[in-house]
């Protein structure tokens, strides 16, 4: 765990303590489990997004995909009577294929990620709405799928299975990103795609894989979301979820320029965002302020991080300068004022 992640963890803990003091019910196992469930759902999205962001890309169609894939899943299982054991892998494959198409457009046809996935955002939302003719896809009253429901919305010793899934996915994806050759390649591509290609890395294939991973994880999350709400109005389901995922990744230290960030950070970012939403409800803050609280905390977090780094760099410079000052026979002149960064 790097220093940045520790700072974020500290923030999460401090906020938690403050909330717990104001309303001790914050610490009730049931509340923690409820929040853990949503952390699981959104965390999976954030990890997917993180894989794309590390390459210097972005995936804006996440929210629409959550709607489209969710609608399809519910429709397959609840209406078309497809066995869920078939529908589940089908949706995952669909997510991966969509990711692959994005990756293909970006790497082979050289389109910008922002543009491709913005079009995706619009197209998938439209497709989802068209599929149900603007109706809702949902389970009928009493329609039950005990195994599926246990897997997706159940709890194990009180711990939501979605959270357990997130933990497993995080560990695997952490190893892949931080310990495997593939992960190193992704960092290299994010930093300097051309130099990576000149080192014999198949950059196109790697970037495409990142989008496939994102599509796959998004599909999984879409299924979880569908089983959590059990009903999907395609016009609004999942709206802005891409922003939550991006915000979590950015809070967790990912740079949208690519090549920077850690999986732990993305997960902690999600934890913080969900903690904030929980807090708004628990402390009875008007729901209208929900967004503002989220935006404010992200901004402050990023600012502190930025200033912290600037101050540290500054301090290192000053101490380094002082050391040599002592060495070099100095004429006792005043230092020339810093003059960088003029606006």
């Amino acid at each position: 765990m790097i220093k940045k992640d520790l700072g974020l963890l500290l923030l999460i803990v401090v906020v938690g303590i403050v909330v717990a003091i104001i309303n001790p019910r914050f610490l009730l196992p049931i509340n923690l489990a409820n929040t853990a469930n949503l952390i699981g759902l959104f965390g999976i999205l954030s990890i997917g997004q993180a894989y794309v962001i590390i390459t210097g890309g972005i995936e804006l169609s996440v929210g629409s995909l959550v709607a489209l894939l969710g609608v399809l899943f519910v429709d397959f299982v609840a209406v078309q009577d497809m066995p869920w054991i078939l529908a589940l892998p089908l949706i995952l494959v669909l997510g991966a294929v969509i990711g692959a198409i994005h990756g293909w457009l970006i790497t082979r046809l050289n389109l910008q990620p922002f543009v491709v996935t913005l079009c995706g955002l619009l197209i998938y939302r439209g497709a989802a709405r068209f599929y149900t003719a603007d109706g809702t896809a949902g389970f009928a009253f009493g329609q039950n799928f005990p195994y599926l429901e246990f897997l997706t919305a159940g709890r194990l010793y009180g711990v939501p299975n979605t959270f357990i899934a997130l933990v497993i996915i995080s560990v695997v994806m952490w190893v892949v990103l931080h310990r495997s050759v593939f992960g190193r390649y992704l960092y290299a591509i994010g930093k300097n795609e051309e130099a990576a290609r000149y080192s014999g890395i198949r950059t196109g294939r790697m970037v495409l894989s990142a989008y496939v991973i994102c599509g796959l994880l998004t599909a999984l999350a879409a299924i979880y979301f569908a089983m959590y709400t059990r009903s999907i109005s395609p016009a609004s389901h999942g709206q802005f979820y891409e922003l939550y995922a991006i915000a979590a990744a950015v809070l967790g230290g990912f740079s949208l320029r690519g090549g920077e960030g850690s999986i732990v950070g993305a997960v902690l970012g999600t934890v913080l965002l969900q903690e904030l939403q929980n807090l708004v409800n628990l402390l009875g803050i008007p729901s209208s302020l929900n967004f503002a609280v989220m935006g404010g905390v992200i901004l402050i977090g990023v600012l502190i991080d930025q200033q912290w780094n600037a101050i540290r760099a500054q301090r290192r410079l000053v101490s380094a300068a002082r050391q040599t000052e002592a060495r070099v026979s100095d004429e006792g002149k005043l230092p020339v004022a810093a003059n960088q960064d003029q606006v």
Partner: protein
């Protein structure tokens, strides 16, 4: 389908995509079947926003639509926009009225009355009083405000209190989490009210997950299948249903008649209230059968 120039077109414009309007769609279809010399369509705006709905209506007018029945996103302040439409076509309102415009008539329910009916349900289910939490999609929308107002008014002088209403911006995930959080934050809650059509099923599911079905009184709105199921099961006290099917069916016929010059169906005050109904455990089966019949299934 493009609009054939020979047949006059009537449009039913809703306030946002939601299953609630599926019944209205069925009503439009039934009216269409009875009146083949008209084109009748139900239109969803891409978003529940004034600018987008206004644009949709302007385009419909350009396309030559002869009559529009609209559930305005924000009727109170949409006056000018609605007047503009009303001066070019026959304009009717539904779902929530805009009385100060040049609309011909309103056909729909009274949201204040619906709120009062919700209070009735609560009073009957909790004679000894209770503490209620409400849930709604758009806190700022007129229909939400009126229902909340109506309910508060109906609860005046009782020991039942509506302590807070949480909004979710029609995000189902938040809708459900809001219920979960409410259960944690206020353990003394004895009742929950779902003001929008999807809020009641989200309440139902969150309570089921928490093992609290039956322990908390649920007051519902509208006729989502889960809501009706819960009512039948006895875990939902009752639900206040509106009749969008009737709004659409009667509305379309009324508009067609109006365009032909027959104004006999328009009352002097321009208000055609199709009452909201409380559906309790005993009425559910009949209501559901009726719904099915209306949908023509």
């Amino acid at each position: 389908a493009s609009y054939a120039a020979d047949k006059p077109t009537l449009a039913f414009v809703v306030n946002g995509a939601s299953d609630f309007w599926k019944a209205a769609e069925a009503g439009v279809k039934k009216a269409q079947a009875e009146m083949p010399d008209y084109n009748m369509e139900l239109k969803y705006p891409e978003q529940a926003a004034v600018a987008i709905q206004q644009r949709l209506m302007e385009d419909l007018v350009s396309a030559g639509v002869k009559g529009i029945m609209v559930s305005a996103v924000d009727p109170k302040t949409q006056t000018d926009g609605l007047n503009k439409i009303g001066s070019q076509t026959a304009l009717f309102t539904t779902d929530s009225d805009a009385p100060k415009t040049n609309r011909v008539a309103y056909i729909g329910s009274s949201n204040v009355d619906a709120g009062k009916q919700a209070a009735e349900i609560a009073k009957k289910a909790m004679p000894d009083g209770g503490k209620c939490m409400g849930f709604v999609g758009l806190l700022g929308a007129d229909n939400a405000r009126e229902r909340i107002e109506g309910m508060k008014e109906g609860l005046k002088g009782t020991k039942i209190e509506l302590v807070d209403v949480r909004g979710d911006d029609i995000d189902q995930t938040r809708a459900k989490k809001n219920v979960e959080d409410a259960l944690v934050a206020s353990p003394d809650l004895t009742c929950m009210v779902g003001f929008y059509s999807y809020n009641t099923p989200r309440i139902y599911e969150a309570l089921r997950d928490a093992g609290k079905l039956g322990q908390i009184t649920v007051v519902g709105f509208d006729d989502d299948p889960i809501t009706l199921g819960g009512v039948k099961e006895g875990t939902i006290a009752a639900t206040v249903v509106q009749q969008p099917f009737e709004w659409a069916y009667q509305g379309m016929k009324l508009m067609a008649a109006y365009l032909k010059g027959d104004k006999s169906g328009i009352p002097a005050d321009g208000l055609i209230i199709i009452p909201t109904v409380i559906i309790g455990k005993d009425d559910v089966d009949k209501y559901a059968a009726n719904l099915k019949a209306m949908a023509g299934k």
